[in-house]
Symmetry: none
Subunit: 211 residues, 2 copies
């Protein structure tokens, strides 16, 4: 697939820095910022290291964009466990017709530890009434644990037909994937398993009554 060049020490150090930076800030660093953080004096040399990370598919190629040093998503991005910090990304509205990966810049929301798991979580806002029978209303927030599998009966966030994100109850058989709304007036929808990509499962829900 790809010629895996193992990372050198320095490259690891830089990658580590990027991961940590990514956890705390929502803008990527500049080369100069990385330099001063790591005690380097030359952007040029740093850039060569970054280039290796790009080749290793750990960093997105940032074509001259300023602050374009961003980690590649979806992969095995190591998560630094920081139990004191329970601010997690708010990625916008569900059913917005966009794959979640597309969300470029986000803000963070602090949530109670009771509403999240140990794993990577994010927040979405619900649009629509498809889950009202389970007490999830329009404009509620939901906390989602990021993962790509679920068991039957779980409430999941799924990317359907590669163009729509939706919150439903999942029922999987080898030949079919059924997404069931929790709303008496709506019908379950049947899909080819290939057309449903699980993006996370529901772990929490919140609602504001402030007007």
């Amino acid at each position: 697939m790809s010629d895996y060049q193992p990372l050198t020490r320095k490259q690891q150090e830089i990658y580590q820095f990027l991961v940590e930076h990514y956890q705390h800030r929502n803008t990527p660093p500049t080369l100069d910022e990385i330099c001063s953080a790591l005690g380097l004096k030359s952007r040029g040399s740093l850039h060569k290291h970054i280039q290796h990370l790009v080749d290793a598919k750990l960093v997105e190629p940032s074509n001259r964009k300023q602050r374009g040093i961003r980690l590649t998503t979806t992969k095995n991005t190591p998560i630094i466990k920081d139990s004191t910090n329970n601010a997690i990304p708010y990625l916008g509205k569900i059913a917005a017709g966009q794959p979640l990966e597309a969300v470029a810049n986000y803000s963070k929301i602090t949530i109670p530890t009771q509403l999240k798991t140990e794993n990577e979580c994010y927040v979405l806002q619900v649009t629509g009434d498809s889950m009202i029978d389970l007490g999830i209303f329009n404009n509620d927030w939901v906390i989602i644990e990021k993962r790509n599998y679920a068991k039957n009966g779980d409430i999941i966030v799924a990317l359907v037909n590669n163009n729509e994100v939706t919150l439903k109850i999942i029922e999987q058989t080898p030949s079919k994937t059924i997404l069931k709304p929790a709303n008496k007036e709506m019908q379950p929808m049947h899909f080819d398993p290939d057309n449903v990509q699980i993006q996370g499962i529901l772990v929490g829900q919140m609602r504001s009554y402030i007007h």
Copy 2:
């Protein structure tokens, strides 16, 4: 559909300013006000940044309207800085048959700023199904703003007959206080106003799906 250009540093700074301004003032700022707040000297350059925010659908297009720089979403404005101290007391379970004042020592729960008001708030856990038609289930948490008055239709926490705490919809007339559950199978209850003491009104709700 939409080519998400990530925000540049300056654009983020401006957006952040708008969010904070929005939370404290009730009129949008003028370009000049933003300029002097951020130390800029040219409306023109600022305007270009604002234009990017409009393209990113973060700011409404303000067609020459004065003070027309308003954020796109009203309720769901992402909070960028959420580092304030929002740990509030957890006072135990509702309907526990004890006036809340009696709770001596309590733990604190961190909640998102979106779920609380500026005033004193606390958290209770719901016992029972009296509010399920409004999506408040058994074992949900509710965030309550502490106060002793409410208007008709508010969802409130009340101490009834000096021995029971309950979460209901309130309806007040000079001669009667009616507490209505949100559950088709339960009946409203009528009280002498003297026997119902309002302890707070509902401002937020949370639910955990982790088991």
